[in-house]
Amino acid sequence: MKCYILVLVLGLVSLVKGFTGPEIIEKVNELMNQETSQSTMEMTIFTSGGQKRTFEYLSYSANYGEKNLIIYQAPARVKGQRMLMLNHADDIWAYFPRTRRVRKLATHAKKQKFEGSDFSNQDIGSGDSFITDYNPTLLGEEKKQKKQCYKVEMQRVESADISYSKLIMWVDKQSFVPLVIDYYDDKIEDRILKTLILSDIQTIDNIPTATRMEMINHGDNTSTTITLTEIQYNIALDDDLFTERGLKK
């Protein structure tokens, strides 16, 4: 009920008041980082050689996206591997079931590919990265996926250790779900490295949710799709889940 009221109020407010870039990104961040969530996802990688790889994993998130845990379910090659990300993925631990070892990874591991996909670890678990790592500016409005969107440019904060120089994000004016995000190269100005397309938006637990995310890698000519097969928001999650002890369970 609260969420209905929130969406209604947001809609009414947006009609009478123009949002600034930071306000839009703040709302995107609030929407994408609910207090807790538990989801099952399927990730499909389409390689440059035309091969298809599918991964299934469980994802848990708590404290408004500050804590994330990913547990691989399939394929057998990675089954049981876990990745714990705390402090918006500034602290990362990986657990490998065959060696039963936990290894802490430094922040730069965020730049590594997520299981060889076109998503990097920072694309997956960086929680409030949109707020902390970028300075947003509203460029105007454009239509994407037949929806009126805010077009926001997000320049990287100088101190942020992020692989992208800037993002351009198109945010649905109605729901504040980002529909398209262009990720720009750090080295070559105005070169788009990757494009994320969010679609199949459904209202789940009163929260507009993109259930399909496709990351297109323009440089490698590959793409990765993540499909949410199940998601629950704002449920009770044991704090122990997001500890090194929980990682080994």
Partner: protein, 414 residues
């Protein structure tokens, strides 16, 4: 033992299904080639690992059975790897002592009259009980310790192969307790009983987090098996060649981040109770340390370097004795020389990860270069291939006579 394993293999599928046991594992054929003394030898193996697991609310059971067959050259004479000036001095009567067989006797050190090239063993078999503030793991389990990638000074059970440092380590029979004490402080401990109580192993570790760092302090008591290869009178009675020393390690480890680089370290000081053994030469208290750092570039290129120091080991190649060589070749020590450097660069792509590893002895200037390739040609299939190219002169830690060669390993998961 084998009957028990057979029973597990033959357990009806319906029973497994009715119990909802998880059944998984891998099949791993492997080929290794090595050039020694103008001969090129082949050794191949086939490993089947079958994991069984079951998770209840507070209890987890896990086990794996491994069946390995060895083919090709399964009998190796370790004298072939020794520097000429040392191997020339080994009397004929001691040559058999240096023969090593793959198979059931693979972990044995000393004279083995019967090579048995196949091996079947139950590796991990444990139950883990999770209470609110305590996890208890009982049985044969992995006891890998420390933050080091190639060397782990605080891990007194395992020695990693620098050509393959992430390969699974064997299980050890122990009881392990892990408990959170405070929100950022936890206690980890194990007890691994020996044949005699006094030869048991125990570890106590306190772990905490400060800022971006995970830190731990550790104390370990260990019964340390050392073989005396230098004393001929001991070799006439092989049982007397293996000595058990008691040692106590006090140390710790850390892992965190400095100036954007991943940094880690691990080390400790070891007190050796010389009264417990038979007086092996050059044995004394010693300290070991590992320091490492890594970084990932925006392109995805990952680089890493790790330094290892062991004050017990010789700092000059002229001081490497038969004992030092044999301890190294039979994994009684983690390295041959005092100061070592390991470096790794890899560029992960979606299916293929080329990598280059270099291990360098700072003590004697020798090095091994290991170009490596990881490839996942299919969803459940992983291929690892590497060449090991030793560059050092005879007598050095990474000398050419250790045998240049390569390995191809396929792993099919199910």
């Amino acid at each position: 033992m084998k009957r028990l394993l057979l029973l597990i293999f033959l357990m009806p599928a319906s029973l497994l299904l009715s119990q909802q046991l998880e059944l998984f594992g891998y099949y791993e054929p492997q080929w290794m080639g090595v050039s020694i003394n103008d001969h090129f030898y082949n050794v191949a193996s086939n490993k089947l690992r079958l994991d069984i697991g079951k998770q209840f609310t507070h209890v987890e059971f896990g086990a794996n059975v491994n069946y390995v067959t060895y083919h090709g050259k399964t009998e190796w004479h370790l004298a072939d790897y020794l520097p000429t000036h040392i191997s020339n001095r080994i009397p004929d009567m001691l040559q058999d002592f240096l023969v090593f067989h793959f198979g059931d006797m693979a972990q044995w050190v000393g004279p083995v009259p019967m090579p048995r090239p196949d091996r079947i063993y139950l590796d991990n078999a444990f139950v883990k009980i999770g209470l609110k503030k305590l996890d208890i793991t009982i049985g044969k389990q992995q006891l890998g310790m420390g933050t080091g990638y190639t060397w782990n000074p605080t891990d007194l059970f395992n020695v990693k192969d620098f050509l393959d440092p992430t390969y699974e380590q064997p299980g050890h029979n122990a009881v392990r307790l892990e408990m959170p004490v405070l929100p950022n402080l936890s206690l980890d401990s194990y007890f691994a009983p020996g044949e005699e109580f006094k030869n048991s192993n125990a570890m106590l570790k306190l772990k905490t987090r400060i800022g971006r760092f995970d830190l731990s302090a550790v104390a370990v008591r260990n019964a340390w098996l050392r073989t005396e290869y230098s004393n001929i009178s001991l070799l006439t009675d092989p049982l007397n060649a293996v000595n058990t020393y008691h040692r106590h390690l006090v140390g710790g480890d850390f892992v965190g981040e400095l100036f954007g680089l991943g940094v880690w370290g691990e080390g400790g000081y070891t007190f050796v109770d010389l009264k417990t053994g038979a007086g092996i030469e050059n044995l004394e208290n010693y300290w070991q340390a590992v320091l490492g750092l890594d970084y990932t570039f925006d392109s995805g290129l990952y680089i890493m370097a790790e330094y290892y120091h062991d004050s017990l080991l010789p700092g000059k190649w002229q001081d490497y004795s038969l004992n030092h060589w044999m301890w190294y070749l039979t994994a009684e020590t983690k390295a041959l020389c005092r100061d070592n450097l390991f470096a790794l660069a890899q560029y992960p792509d979606d299916l293929v990860t080329p990598a280059l590893m270099i291990i360098h002895s700072i003590s004697d200037g020798s090095a091994a270069i290991v170009p490596t390739l990881y490839w996942t040609p299919f969803q459940e299939v992983e291929l690892t291939a590497y060449l090991n190219l030793y560059t050092g002169e005879d007598g050095r830690a990474y000398a050419k006579n250790l045998g240049n060669g390569g390995l191809i390993r396929l792993r099919v998961y199910f």
